[in-house]
Subunit: 333 residues, 4 copies
């Protein structure tokens, strides 16, 4: 029985607590939050769980095996490090850390002590992303040309990070998982207005295998959009995460080059066939993710979204930040 | 009665011919195309109009007052220049010319001879863009923060230009018209694959008044998207050109900063109210545009989309091209 | 402090329990269900509430003021009658009772003992229906011509009622509320296939003020549809309950008859103007409804959806049932 | 070479003329219309075709083999009869005739003289309906349970027929073709308001093989809807004719009855799988239809939509009319 402590019971914490509570093979022992009202809500929702404002009662507690860190990113490193140094596995909110150096240091501590790190890249466990990953891995899509995502809505402005750190980790972790190639260079443009933090940003990522990725993230859009286009040699797909019934549509569309004797003889022919929307598994992503965390602790496996995955995402966020500060400088990785 | 000659009767030429034919105060006298089959179609559609493969019978013809140049961009400069030098007004397909230097030269010839140039930025005459322009000019939107457009579909690959020169002129001319501010710098990223010409591109434009523009253009998308978000201080709008009934939706949504004592005290409040979709004038845009061309010739006015508007668009395309060739270099204008 | 007992903790019971739990001025004292697993879930969710399988511990309990009956319709009458006869107010799931005679009897008991009945026509308390009601009452819509609703999806097949009793109470209660006119006659067609109960039905309701209502209800549709058209003299509206952001759209569209000298001189002109989507209150409907129930008990008011409202709905369901059994016989009310 | 005369050049006539003009094996010789302005437009569009206001110059002309009757329904019988009696094949707008007796008389004349009748049920030749017919005929859908169509929009009010005669012929002809079963009974409800003709109607059709059909037709809807649900044993489909790219969606959804020991033991299980949107042929339906008419004249075949198909549709319209006049009386066929 893995005993879990949860630090942070704000926006996302209740979901993490609920899933660890109902997962087999583990038990939520204690929840910590600095806000007593918040703790009251936790107590009401999970009557059998202890609550405390004292961090030490979690990170140093002998009766806890693993800590879920569900706090703002600026606190991840200190919290996770203390937990690891006290011999506890860690489940850390995304983005993993505020700097890639911090990520490396946490990985180093965990590997030395043989502890697990899982970074909460929840989207990797959704039915949609698992299906897309399968279609790419099985060759259904053919070689990938581009990954183009729009993730915009009104709010919530963050006070300590820009829109890239807030919204882009989703797509960056998905690209890291699905495209599974080394990014070569990153470039970001954007604007701030109400604070020092950009409210809109456009991020281009060049991968080593000729794939281009692009993210459009915006806190100031009147409508919510969660749409990704994935262009492949054999198929193209659209993933609209706001479509309740047909999130993923696979198009038998493409372009074929028939002749290439000089550019003016280029014969481009279009293929346009059926569309197919596969049924997706509806299991809550966070349920599968927390179960994998428990499973890896118990049986020694490596989480899909381990510290290294978290590190790669933070590295790209850092590069995007550097680029946007320098008005779109190309940053090599 | 303004006598019109039309050069080029391919994809768009029939629409230009039809609108000049039905406009008051002008008459289509002659249509020229190098392809005799195409000319046959022109003859069938406009039985009273002469057809020819000889360009001189238009650009040097004493019985013609104005020439519509509806040919590939690489031919615009020579054709328009000959027409202007023969004392004819010109209506030129977008983009105006292949280089900004050519654009300046045509403007100079026209001004010297007191001739009109109109560049076919048709979208400016649509009900949607006219309504958007009105909302911005009347202050309904408040200060503009960003203009973000997605214009993607499958094909048609062009053989002599990249996707920016093919699709971006629409949005660039609309931004030039609606935002009406000097662009300061441009940056473009993208990928080619099947030829030397990029099939996907992402263009960021920084305007002097703190507005950011962004274009997502792609010839390799499985779905057609024509969506523009315009974020303003007082209202935000979505223009979905594929929505047959409610193309423009204006949202009473926004964000207000109430307090700014240091970034952690930043109080951001969201305003979320009604949505409103104004009825749009359904008149064919090209009809209004060709009528304005005739009107300007007859009464000496300046077209909305004159040579200078065409020049500004070409200048931005050139800069975007330079940026994309240098992997996203920031190009100052 | 109104003390509440809840009978039935299946599909909808947890929502009723949650709302009564969090409402001011009342307290959930006891929950009853015949299934011990279900009771275990209730206990876990509401640790401070007693659970029991004994109905008497609710309907006859001196420490309970009001009973929420959240059980299948066939049990409503007996349960509610026992509760009323024991001096308890009742909140009853829709449809109120299995027959209109039962409804009248319950009303009679309640009135005699000065007890409140509320029938759970939740939709009346949604932001959408409240806005529609307001638009009709304030005369914005003008005279109403028709109410046309489609409410279809796959499943859930009920074992003891047909699709009319399952899905139509929503629209019938909304029409009763919004149109606020006496229905004159009802006619229903449909089909059964897998059992004696119709899986699809089409119900026409003729109101005394020349309004026609129509319901399309279907348990065997591949897609979920929840769309109502409301045609008025001055405006028309579409209520799409599945649209998360713009559920109600009001169209400035209509038809005007300008001349009527014989049918061939009929001059019909169409009015087509802006569309407007009002912001809707997002408060959970069941929260407002349970609060009104408590308020009426405490201050003696009449619930919007009292026993008579429940009776009128059951009367129409009965008539529709009679019509469908007789292959579309017109049943006068 | 089949020589065609066209009577009526109003709303639909130009499309018929254009398709007969471009079809192989036939030639449009003469166009007749009572309105000289309309004839002027015909002359401009088809310079090589004669125009006339004299009907005799078509129906009695020795140089004409077939007449297309594209006039209001009240005139179809007289016109078609004169044409047939003069030995001409006829292509008649839908609905075929104003009464089923007229339809039978025309069929009798045509059969006696060995002439072809085609009734312009254009929808049968669309890519969507051809695909649906194929899916049904090949057994992909399994047994059909219901056909449910909504065909509503604002206007156009007809002056001489109600909304059933205007909009329902489309769906009735499609059902006649796709379901290919004898209708047993029809029932229609609806309302008039601005004239004696119903602006809204709901038609239920009971077929002999246990299929139920339902049509919702309305001239007073603020939004245009063209959606048909087809429920089958193995698959269900949605045909949204306003969706430009994915008109037909086939759902691998259904319901299975696993056990039937009394209604309370009924075990209903739902099947929910992938969705698939087949690519549809984009050829203009009227082109295929007019080509089939010419082909049948030349080679003696029987048109898909011959006089008998036209008769069956008129018979159902007549029955629906009778039912609606009698407030939903069930009319047996």
């Amino acid at each position: 029985m893995i005993r879990i402590g949860i630090v942070g019971y704000g926006y996302w914490g209740p979901n993490v607590a609920r899933n660890f509570s109902s997962a087999d093979g583990c038990r939520v022992v204690r929840i910590c939050d600095g806000n007593r009202d918040v703790l009251g809500r936790a107590q009401k929702a999970f009557p059998g769980v202890e609550t405390t404002t004292e961090l030490n009662q979690l990170v140093e507690a002998p009766d806890i095996d693993a800590i879920a860190v569900v706090t703002p990113v600026s606190t991840h490193f200190d919290l996770a490090k203390r937990a690891l140094e006290n011999g506890k596995h860690v489940f850390v909110e995304k983005p993993f850390t505020a700097t890639s150096a911090q990520a490396l240091e946490l990985i180093e501590v965990a590997e030395r002590r043989n502890l697990k790190i899982m970074v909460d890249h929840t989207f990797l466990f959704t039915g949609a992303v698992r299906k897309i990953k399968q279609l790419v891995d099985e060759g259904v899509m053919g070689n990938i040309y581009y990954y183009d995502s729009t993730r915009v809505n009104l709010g919530l402005f963050q006070h300590d990070v820009n829109v890239i750190w807030d919204l882009a980790p989703h797509d960056i972790s998905i690209m890291d998982h699905v495209i599974a190639e080394k990014p070569e260079a990153i470039l970001a443009t954007g604007k701030n207005h109400f604070s020092d933090y950009e409210y809109v940003a456009y991020v281009t990522i060049y991968f080593s295998n000729n794939v281009i990725g692009h993210l459009n993230v915006n806190w100031l859009s009147p409508v919510k959009v969660r749409t990704t286009l994935l262009g492949g040699e054999k198929k193209m797909l659209v993933w609209n995460d706001l479509d309740s019934d047909e999130k993923v549509k696979v198009y038998d569309k493409g372009v074929e080059i028939e002749n290439r004797q000089g550019v003016y003889d280029l014969l481009v022919s279009y293929r346009s066939g059926d569309m197919w929307s596969p049924k997706l598994d509806q299991t809550e992503a966070l349920k599968l993710e927390t179960e994998q965390f428990i499973e890896c602790i118990r049986n020694g496996g490596k989480p899909l979204n381990d510290g290294w995955a978290g590190y790669r995402v933070v590295q790209m966020l850092e590069a995007a930040d550097r680029s946007i500060k320098n008005r779109g400088e190309l940053v090599w990785l």
